[in-house]
């Protein structure tokens, strides 16, 4: 087991970093889209009732099928991988952004508005802080699932830890299977922990509990 790492550590580190890269970019792009989209949809129920089912449908497409569908459109490699992962991420992210903003006590918004805060002041000083814990919660769940699904992206030459795992499966190479699994799981556990700490801090902040 240790021998495998000793012999292949350069490859493993490269693939590990690649996995982080795929996750990071997919998540980043998804957040940039989901934040404004979620805010918009939280204020417009009609638009939400159209967009959310679409995101739900995308979410239910099996990942292998999704990757296969994207190959004719954007080819092989990193691009389709990130595209697919962004598409998967949107449902949970947007849903949590919406939930975050809708969970704000209406009395707080009324008081803020009634005191003369502008829409932007209300948004950045009040609403965002209140919605943040739920939003981070969404990012956390999404990050974990992106780390998982990104493993499959190695099928379309996107690299990442899936390369080790599937190589191991193909060649019945137990150390590769174990290391691939351990590294993916370890990454997911670490990211989950890190974000849950952020989430707890945001929650304490939004409730006015000094930490």
């Amino acid at each position: 087991m240790i021998d495998y790492i000793r012999e292949n550590y350069l490859d493993v580190v490269t693939l590990f970093l690649q996995h982080i890269e795929i996750t990071f970019f997919s998540l980043g792009i998804a957040i940039v889209i989901a934040l404004p989209l979620g805010v918009l949809l939280s204020r417009n129920r009609t638009a939400a009732s159209i967009v959310m089912p679409v995101l739900s449908v995308i979410y239910t497409i099996p990942s292998l099928a999704m990757f296969a569908l994207l190959i004719p459109v954007v080819g092989l490699g990193l691009k389709p991988a990130i595209l697919a992962l962004v598409a998967y991420s949107l449902l949970i992210l947007v849903r949590n952004v919406m939930a975050g903003f809708r969970s704000i006590d209406p009395a707080i918004l009324e008081a803020g508005k009634g005191m003369g805060l502008s829409q932007w002041q209300l948004f950045f000083k009040i609403e965002l802080v209140m919605a943040l814990p739920v939003i981070i919660g969404g990012v956390r769940i999404t990050a974990v699932s992106v780390i998982g699904i990104a493993t499959i992206a190695s099928w379309i030459n996107a690299g990442g830890l899936g390369v080790i795992l599937f190589q191991g499966l193909n060649q019945s190479n137990t150390p590769e299977i174990v290391w691939g699994t351990l590294l993916v799981a370890g990454l997911a556990i670490f990211v989950n922990y890190f974000l849950s700490v952020l989430e707890a801090m945001a929650l304490a902040k939004s409730k006015g509990e000094p930490f």
Binding site: D105, M115, G116, K205, K207
Partner: protein, 319 residues
């Protein structure tokens, strides 16, 4: 527009989208500067709607609102609201901000200097009975309901608005604390000479606090007058049954000693031992004093502790 009216409503009405009938029918009202005016009425009669048209949280379907002679539709809603204090029942305190940050909200938006804001926070917390040293750094969740409402009041007063709108501010507070807060808002209003428009559905509160009371029912103003006038001359059956003006005991609870006392007195002739009371004391309490003392009158003193009148059973009869 005459300058001595703080708030003028001219033919104001409000019909919400898709509503069958107006929430507030055409209404004309003039509220004098420095007056404490309460709006009294049952749930859903349009009190909040009326109030929110003053600071443009709702836009009226017809009519105009003037504050201090200025047409509010010509002032941007945010600028207007920064000039009007606003307090609601649920306090709406910003949970993630400390007491001082909450109070500083509007002064900060208005760009006041740090020093000035700091002094203002201390002054206001002092005013609402929360010692600054103890309360400045607390978060809303570390305060009782009554204390939170005090912070809400301080926050609304922060930029020293001449007009305050209050929507059932004490509605969620227990009877004992409500009574204390009522006394304090009266004291603060006298001290700062604010014009206050105060919504309540508690008759006692409306009559106790209001220099004048607006009685509403089903979107229409039924009567706008002083508490004493409303009790003595209810405008219609609705008002009559609302304030139980047929019930002498009920009426005595609302009429204040200062309203009916005999001011034609000779202090020399009044006994040292005769019972004394305040102008704001209800006739019911005065009657209790009368019954439990050998004297046939109660001496009434004003805020400066000067003798201003007496009440005998005759004055009570006339109430």
């Amino acid at each position: 527009m005459s300058g001595k009216y703080a708030i003028v409503l001219e033919g104001i009405s409000k019909t919400f989208e898709r509503a069958e009938k107006p929430s507030v029918y055409k209404t004309d009202l003039k509220i004098e500067e420095g007056n404490f005016v309460t709006i009294l009425g049952a749930s859903g009669c349009g009190k909040t709607t009326l109030l929110k048209m003053v600071n443009r949280l709702y836009e009226p379907s017809s009519g105009k609102v003037f504050i201090n002679g200025e047409d509010v539709s010509r002032i941007s809603p945010t600028a207007l609201r920064r000039r009007i204090g606003y307090v609601i029942q649920q306090t709406g305190l910003f949970q993630h901000m400390t007491v001082e940050q909450n109070v500083a909200t509007v002064p900060e938006i208005l760009g006041w200097g740090k020093e000035k804001i700091n002094r203002r926070i201390d002054e206001l917390l002092q005013l609402v009975g929360l010692p600054p040293a103890e309360y400045r750094k607390r978060y809303p969740r570390q305060l009782s309901g009554g204390q939170q409402q005090r912070v809400g009041l301080a926050r609304a007063l922060a930029a020293d608005p001449s007009i305050m709108l209050m929507d059932e501010p004490f509605g969620a507070i227990d009877a004992i604390n409500r009574s204390i807060l009522q006394d304090e808002i009266l004291r603060i209003q006298k001290q700062l000479n604010k014009t206050i428009l105060f919504v309540t559905h508690d008759i006692t509160e409306a009559l106790k606090l209001g220099d004048k009371v607006i009685i509403m029912n089903e979107g229409k103003v039924q009567q706008y007058d002083t508490p004493l006038h409303i009790l003595r001359h209810p405008a219609n059956d609705f008002v009559k049954s609302l304030v139980h003006s047929d019930d002498l005991f009920q009426r005595m609870a609302f009429v204040k000693a200062g309203d009916v006392m005999n001011e034609d007195i000779d202090s020399q002739k009044l006994s040292e031992e005769a019972p004394e009371s305040q102008e704001q004391t209800s006739l019911r309490d005065i009657l209790l004093l009368l019954i439990s003392s050998p004297f046939h009158y109660v001496k009434i003193k004003n805020e400066r502790n000067e003798m201003v009148g007496t009440v005998t059973i005759n004055e009570i009869r006339q109430a």
